[in-house]
Symmetry: C2
Subunit: 213 residues, 2 copies
């Protein structure tokens, strides 16, 4: 990395330049915002597949990649989902071009022979360990959730991630058969105007979040 | 997004192009690998600060951003950390240019008046809810862990994320005073040669991980 002349608040040294351009840093992080208001422009299955095809390469423990996506499109499915989200989030779920329920798959271990052939024996060993599988699936799905937010932005899409759902209700509504466990939801589309009425919130400085030993 | 002619395995439609170039998609995801063998090139505090300065903008619930970093540099600190990682990971921790212990801060709520001023009252409400704070901190730290992996790569650094540590032991060793809770570790540096002797592992297709309703 080369060094530019930027000096950050709270840091008394110049910050090195990144390996990606400012346009990319802006698109993925700096100028990206959590979006609440979308245009009518649709989001296609092809676009979502392209996002997944990018972020599937992100690292997870033993390459388990347990993130699963419920893509909620139809008015009927939207209503079924909206019944299980908090009041403050309901209108956004009903209005977004598409909503993703990001879920974890505690049955991920069945794919270990494909995803981590050198660890195939783990598939049988994990089979009776339901609680450990649920925890592993949840942990690695959350890591993949981070990749997914970046991937949506890398595809030129805007994301409105939300917690605040009755996960047990969502699971009973949609995942009774496949056993997936809902974690979070993301409204996806293209921002209308600024897409949010909130000012950009502050962040902690590097020196507030790090210790060096 | 425009459409190019790529056809993915398992998909019967062309995949739309991303909003970032192939060089960026390769750097952040497609060609990136989990690295085990690093050159001697150091990783500076300035580089790590630049990474954090990028990924701090990624969304978390109520902007809590509870990820914290222990930057392990000195031979003595390395030995203290290595004593708490699995046998198979120990040599890598001792050899990496720098190792990050990614931790969550259950005391994140103290920063809510700064990070989410419109939710300031939550700081007091969460104060007695230790278990809920630990869970919120862990969940959002894992999401930020995903951003961090992308951010390290965006800074031209290679990452070797690892689970397999005695988190209670690490917490007692390093976090007795500040109450941080270790989650995962990442060796950071520049890859030596390929940086790994493992072949690229398979991933599931979009159609295997998604359902549309």
């Amino acid at each position: 990395m080369t060094t530019d002349t930027t000096v950050l608040d709270g840091l008394d040294f110049p910050v090195p330049a990144l390996a990606v351009g400012d346009d990319v840093a802006d698109l993925l992080f700096r100028q990206a915002r959590t979006i609440g208001t979308f245009t009518d422009q649709p989001v296609t299955d092809e676009e979502l597949a392209a996002v997944y095809d990018l972020i599937k390469w992100g690292p997870t423990a033993i390459n388990t990649t347990p993130l699963r996506l419920l893509v909620v499109r139809t008015p009927e499915a939207r209503q079924r989902l909206a019944a299980h989200v908090n009041d403050g989030n309901r209108d956004r779920v009903l209005a977004a071009p598409v909503t993703l329920v990001v879920a974890s798959d505690p049955g991920f271990h069945q794919h270990i022979p494909t995803l981590a052939p050198h660890m195939s024996a783990l598939a049988d060993a994990l089979d009776p360990q339901t609680e450990q599988r649920e925890q592993m699936a949840r942990m690695n799905t959350l890591i993949q959730f981070g990749y997914l937010i970046v991937g949506l932005r890398a595809a030129g899409l805007d994301a409105g991630p939300m917690a605040g759902l009755d996960t047990a209700g969502v699971d009973a509504e949609f995942f009774a058969e496949n056993g997936w466990q809902s974690q979070l939801i993301i409204n996806v589309g293209h921002r209308e105007g600024e897409g949010t009425s909130y000012p950009r919130a502050a962040r902690l400085d590097y020196e507030q979040v790090s210790l060096t030993v």
